[in-house]
Structure formats: structure tokens, C-alpha cells
Symmetry: C2
């Protein structure tokens, strides 16, 4: 294949992804869904004018890393400390319940499996897909209603971020255990994972100090985002190569390490440009290229419906009940639960990871994509209804 | 190879390229030279910790396209019209003289070749490498001295831009003719090239109108730079695939088509971020990865010295004499000639293109890199001396 033929594929992907992305936004569906559908249309499922190639997969992998790095950079450790315990507990419940419910749902459809079997890990993996909240839709909705800077708003956002961190740890463990060969015991895998997070903790403090010094001296210069990106790639590699932890976990950690330096927003700005200009569309359209429409059977449609129901209800119940326990009013607790139920890119990235390591089939992209669509449409509608019933949070608002 | 291993290579390239780039700037050498040396050090020539892979070549190719697109976007058609004929004639002489001198130099070293033989095209290609002025060093120097907005400054910048356009046309023809199989006559290749530029001219006007409308409606939104990038990639592909014209020519044309819409700077800003964050370092370090230090013989060192002398003198004489004919004073004409003698990225990109199509050997990177270093160091020094002799241009200054 001639080198220049990559330009044909990239041009088609960019145009199709952007056009369908714009269309999706007009329909109040997340833009990424449009980009995925673009991939479906130009890919083997419909037109067949673009094929998945090694090059496109590698570009997509960089796209994933950039998204996770950006998510890590968006973590605000200081804010997290403020909202503290409440957000943490809400996040925990919002991870555990969907994880268990998702796994049970899979088993209900595809047979119960003994703990430790591959089939068991498939089930757990389906649960893991359900753990990560995508708070962007909620943030946009709360912002529109002027409710983002309230205690309730901050709690939801903090819980969503903590839930990302917990989700990434759970993912790391499940991947480690689920793909471990017969030789590696579960305890060894967990030990390796723990070691990774310990190394990240210690190394992270040192790296943070280094970047803080760089930042003080060279604020807003090209070197800060470039070294940041290099750190992201280095940790992605180190995570997989030496600890058997997913590369996306390393990228996320790199983001968290840098999230409190002054230039973190500056770095994120540059990363976002790289992401939306090329790598992002290649990743999301790539999902469409790989999605197997022919494989969608009657069972899969039924599974998708149940999957979506389980995904939404388990978050509302898990997060809502915990919020209620933390002495929020019932209505406010419901707002928290609904605010936490949206899923987005991270769910897809996790599913994609599962496909890459052979734990799940590409046919499972369909329910995940549908979940993103449904939750993104429902969340703003329900949140607005809840706030109309009781415009002021029972809990005090921040100024 | 595991997908995640690309992150190891990219991380090493980013860190090495940025560190050496910073060092180069401290030494008043262009940053790209530092990045190339970084590639030499991490590549097979020295440490051998990074190997050239298909993936890295493809990333580098995108890097080239982005640089040429950006160069096209920087063309200001309105300014060009103003300085008009003078700049055009200076540019023509600054292309023709180095082209002939470079070809003759090659023949002097490696034997005279009959017109039409492969050896002949090798010689012509070495001449083509010498055609493109890199005006950035001159612009920075003139800017520092407050002389950029003078008639002389504008003339130099305009001539450098026109010289890019002529250079790209010459490159297109030489590649077309030099790589044409026995069946294709020179006239057929030239016809194909002419057809390409005619199609670009007509299609360009239409595309310009479309983008102008898009721009008026959606200024400063993501879609403008994304569709711009898609256009760049589409034209790169179309140029090679259907006209046998180099992809970089297509990318440059895409830039020129969009250079006069309102958002051209906005597009360029996004392209530059993509370029310096990842694709640029991969391209320049990639040159280092491919450069064959072992191949540098005594002859090559002597060739390099002559190559640099020919490169500098042919531009000074070609551009300077033409400026003198246009009734600039002798000193001002010398300023024009010196201002036009710097070479940069485009010379490397042309050399790289020659390597890709098998017209020249990677050993020729060495003289090109040395030319960039020497011309970039000499130009500011000589320009400052010339301006010290006569601080005011003889020609009237613009306000």
C-alpha cells in the first residue's frame, strides 16, 4: 500500500465523522455517537469505502490515550478534597452496584459461570463497562440551569471523577486477573496492580514536583504540553509493559499527576486540539468500522434493552440511595442518581479494551452505543423535570 | 508488535526531540536541526533505541503534509499582488539559478549525464532541493531590527513565498518526469502537471467559495479547521493518485486555497498545535533515524562544502542581481539576496521526497542539514552587518 493512501482514509473519516457529529448534536445526541455511526456507514457494514488498517488502529489507540489523559487532567484534587467523603461514598456505590448488576445480567443471558472461569470474567467485564459515569452531559445541563456551582452540582461532578478513578482500578484488576495465564494467581495480579498504583503514587509526587518547577519557569511554552504528552505515552507504555495494567490507566494517571500544576488547563487545551482534529474522529469512527451490525441478533436486541435498563437503574439506586444516606432529601438524592447515570466515551474505551484483549465480542459495542445514546437523551430531560419540581436544592448553595 | 509499544517510541522521540530542539535554539541553530540530531542519537546511528517503523513513517508523512499545508495557509495572496512583479522576478531568478547550479555541482562530482537519463534527473533533483527559501529566519531578523514592514522586507517575504510556489511546480514536474516509466513522455507528464494546476485553479475557486460561506456562518468553530484538514488530506491524495504530483504539492495547494478566508489563521493555529505536539517531532527525528552517518565519506564532506557554497551564492547572485535590475541600490540588492539565502524545512521535505521515490540516497540528507545550519547562522549575522552600514533602505518605507 502506498503511504499516500492513508490520506484518502483520513480525509473520508474526518469529513464523515464531522458531518454525522454535527447532525447528532442537532438531534441532541452526543457528537461521538454521530462519529461512530459515520464509521458504520463508511465501513464494511454499509458502504465499505474505508477498511480498518493497522495504521488506523494505532492512530485510534493514540486517540484513546489522549482522551484518558485529558480526563485525568480534568481531575481537580483540591475540589475532590472539599466534597470529600460524600462524593467518595456515592462514587463507590455507583461503581459496585452497576458492576454486580451488569455481571449478573450477562450471566442471566449467557449462563451462570463459576468464579475464576473465562466466562465469569466476561460477565464481570460487562459489569466494568457500566461503572464509568460520563458527567459531561450532566455538567452541561446543570450549567444551563445555573445549578453547576451548587453543593449538589459539585458533589455530582466530584463523584463522577472519583468513580472514574475507582473504575480504572477495577478495570486494571479485572484485566490483570481475567487475562492472566494459568501460572499467575489472582493474588499475584492484584499485587502487581497494587505495586503499580504505589509506584504511580511515589513516582507521581516526584514527577509532579519536576513539572511544577518546569511550569514555574516556562509557563505557556510548547515544552510543557510536549513533555506532558511524552509523560502520558511513557506511563501508558510502562503500565502495560511492566505491570500488565491497561495503557489507558497509565494515561489517566499521567493526567492526574499533572492535574494540579498551573499549566494543566494549558496542556489540556493542546491535547484537546490534537484529539478533536484527528485522533478522536479516527477512534470513534474506528469503533463504527469494527462494529458488527450483522451480528446483532434478536437476543442481542433484548440484551441491549435490559443492559440499558440495568445501567440506568443501578446508577440511580446506587448513587441515589447513598446520597439519601448522606442526609440529602429524596428529591436531591434522585437528582444525584440521575446526574450520575450518563455514560460516554469511557464506557466505549473500556469495551474496546475488552475487545482488544479478547474478553468480549465486537457485537457488545451495540448495547454500549445505545446506552450512550439513551442515557444522554434521558438525563437532561429528567434532570430538568426534577429541578422544575423543586428549583432550590434542599442543601445550601455555594455563593 | 504490541500496539502499546508505539507509545514507547513516541515518548522517546518527543523527549529527545524537544530537549535537543531547546539546546539548538540556545545555540542559535534552528530547532528542527536539534530534532534531527535527536533522531540521529536515538536511532541506529548511535544508541539504537528507536527503529524506523511503518507507523512512524506514516506519522512523519502526516507531519510533512501539515507543514506544507501550514506554509500554504501562510501565503497572503493580497500582499503578493501588491509587491507584484518585482517579487515575482526575484523569486524566479532565485529558483532558476540555484536549480541549475545545484544540478551542475552534482554532475561535477558524479559525472555529467545526458539529458533524460536517471542520473540527469538525480542531478536536477539536487538542484530542486536548493530552490526553496525558508524565510522564517529572515523574518525574525528583520522583525528584531524593525525592518520587516518596509518595502524591502515585504519584497523579500513575498519573493520567498512565490519561490515556494514556483519550487513546488518545478518539484512536481521533475518528480513526474524523473519517475515516469518509459511509456510516459515528458510532454505527457508536463500535461498532467498542467492539468493538475488547472484543476486546482478551477476547483480551488469553488472550494474557496464553499469555505468562505462555511467560515461566515461558523467562524472559530471546530468544523472549519477539521474540514480544512480533510481538504488538505484529500488534495494530497488526489495529487499523487490521479496526477502523479507529490502529495506535499496537494497539501500546499489546499493551504493556498484557504489562505484568504477569514479563519485561515485560526485553521493554521490548530494545524500548528498538531504539528509541534507530535507529527513535527516525529518527522524531523525520523530524518535523523534514516540519515546514514556511516555513509558520509570524504567526497561527501567536500560535496557538502561545495553544496553549501553553491546554495548560498546562487541565491545571493540570482535574487540580488534581479533586485539590482529592479533599481534597488547595490546594498539593498545584497540585503535581498542574503535575506533569500536561508533554507529550512522545505529543503528537507524535498530531499525526503527524493529519497522516497528513489531519486536520491539518504546520504544527501547530511549536506542539506548542514546547509540549513550554516545558512540559518549566517543570514542574521550578515543582514545585521548590511543594515549597520546603511540603516535606512534607499527605497521608501511603508508607514
Amino acid at each position: 500500500m502506498e503511504t499516500y493512501s492513508i490520506f484518502r482514509e483520513l480525509a473520508i473519516i474526518l469529513i464523515a465523522a464531522k458531518l454525522l457529529g454535527i447532525l447528532a448534536r442537532r438531534l441532541n445526541i452526543p457528537q461521538v455517537v454521530g462519529e461512530i455511526v459515520a464509521g458504520l456507514i463508511i465501513g464494511p457494514s454499509v458502504l465499505g469505502i474505508v477498511q480498518q488498517t493497522d495504521f488506523l488502529s494505532q492512530m485510534a489507540e493514540i486517540g484513546v490515550i489522549l482522551i484518558m489523559f485529558s480526563a485525568g487532567l480534568g481531575t481537580n484534587l483540591k475540589d475532590l478534597k472539599k466534597t470529600g467523603a460524600a462524593a467518595f461514598l456515592i462514587a463507590c456505590a455507583g461503581v459496585v452496584l452497576p458492576l454486580i448488576a451488569g455481571a449478573l445480567l450477562y450471566m442471566a443471558f449467557y449462563g451462570f459461570a463459576a468464579v475464576g472461569t473465562v466466562e465469569f470474567f466476561r460477565a464481570v467485564f460487562v459489569g466494568v463497562i457500566l461503572t464509568a459515569t460520563s458527567v459531561s452531559i450532566t455538567v452541561r445541563t446543570l450549567h444551563e440551569m445555573g445549578k453547576l456551582k451548587t453543593t449538589l452540582g459539585t458533589t455530582i461532578v466530584s463523584a463522577a471523577i472519583i468513580d472514574d478513578v475507582i473504575g480504572i482500578i477495577v478495570l486494571a484488576i479485572v484485566i490483570g486477573v481475567g487475562t492472566g495465564s494459568g501460572d499467575t494467581s489472582i493474588s499475584a495480579v492484584i499485587a502487581k496492580n497494587l505495586l503499580f498504583f504505589v509506584v504511580m503514587g511515589i513516582g507521581g509526587v516526584i514527577l509532579y514536583k519536576i513539572f511544577q518547577k518546569l511550569d514555574a519557569k516556562y509557563r505557556h511554552t510548547q515544552r510543557i504540553p510536549i513533555f506532558g504528552l511524552a509523560l502520558c505515552m511513557a506511563l501508558s507504555y510502562i503500565a502495560e509493559r511492566f505491570f500488565g495494567v491497561a495503557d489507558i490507566t497509565g494515561a489517566f494517571c499521567a493526567g492526574v499527576i499533572l492535574c494540579n500544576i498551573h499549566d494543566s488547563e494549558y496542556i489540556d487545551g493542546k491535547i484537546i486540539v490534537n484529539s478533536y482534529m484527528l485522533f478522536g474522529p479516527v477512534f470513534f469512527a474506528g469503533i463504527g468500522l469494527k462494529t458488527n451490525i450483522q451480528g446483532v441478533s434478536g437476543t442481542m436486541i433484548l440484551f441491549s434493552v435490559c443492559f440499558i435498563a440495568v445501567a440506568l437503574i443501578s446508577k440511580i439506586v446506587g448513587c441515589g440511595a447513598t446520597a439519601r444516606l448522606m442526609r440529602h432529601s429524596t428529591l436531591d438524592s434522585l437528582k444525584v442518581g440521575v446526574g450520575m447515570m450518563t455514560r460516554g466515551e469511557v464506557a466505549l474505551i473500556v469495551a474496546q479494551k475488552g475487545l482488544a484483549i479478547g474478553l468480549i465480542d465486537s457485537v457488545f459495542f451495540t448495547p454500549v452505543i445505545l446506552l450512550i445514546i439513551v442515557s444522554s437523551i434521558l438525563t437532561p430531560i429528567i434532570l430538568k423535570i426534577l429541578y422544575r419540581r423543586n428549583p432550590v436544592d434542599t442543601t445550601a448553595s455555594n455563593p
